[in-house]
Symmetry: C2
Subunit: 172 residues, 2 copies
Amino acid sequence: MKHFTFFVVAVAAIAGLIVLTVPAPGHADAATAPYVTEIPQGYRDWQWVSSAHEAGNLTSLGSVLGNDIAIKAYREGKWPFPDGAIIAALHYKNVPSDENNKIFGKVQSFVPGPPTNIQFMVKDSTKYAATGGWGFGHFQDGKPADAAFMKPCFPCHEKAKATDLVFTRYAP
Amino acid sequence: MKHFTFFVVAVAAIAGLIVLTVPAPGHADAATAPYVTEIPQGYRDWQWVSSAHEAGNLTSLGSVLGNDIAIKAYREGKWPFPDGAIIAALHYKNVPSDENNKIFGKVQSFVPGPPTNIQFMVKDSTKYAATGGWGFGHFQDGKPADAAFMKPCFPCHEKAKATDLVFTRYAP
């Protein structure tokens, strides 16, 4: 009887350990949620979605490009984006163009300066279920950010739930 | 003899009229220089060159796209652009994004508002010899501007002679 009790307790303990270490689907810990660690190939050739100018702390001039699946979804105006859609946000410092301003006669022309970062959203509802179906990526000088840096992406993008977590609209 | 003299004078007069009305190549009157009056097909699908934010009177957020020939030339970093290159500048009102600013917590996000105009530069060194090899185009609500409106394009762009009359640089 003693051996059997020990056996039952051991099994229960092991089962408990398994429950503790394997996250239930959709409940992955934010610190371990998968994100995009490789730059999608050929992004610089994708079609243009829109541009954005960020003032404030970001002071950035950016452009958003989309792969074929993303562009098609944008043009059809339907959410959610299908799996396989990838949206790229190319960011640059917002700098005055001395050349152009000399011709304009005043400081009014701002153009992309040095690249700051490239960000991606990759749709895969299974792989990225923990973060709304989107894998977020951030690259500086070609290198991916770490998990801690990536933590705030999803909670903020989740506020754009009505547009499938995507803030950028298609510019006609 | 009188008939012959009259004939010679008549021919000379007609020749003179022809010389006066047919501009010598490269010396077309600015008011009659050809420009782009039809929107190049498929421009919205072209690849992205760069973005620009114009403050001042223009207050515009824009994006520059290029067809395959233009993009190839840009990436090779060689001037002048070859014949067949077309550069499109899509302009929109620069407007704050209420949606984004609600999430940011302050007014810092600017996005393309209503489209204002689309401009083109089409390279054809023969057809557009009078304007530096480039045909300029300006369209609002799909309609081309008139010749008077187009007059200032070339003299201003000529100031960018070092970069083949093109102000926009390629954003990497």
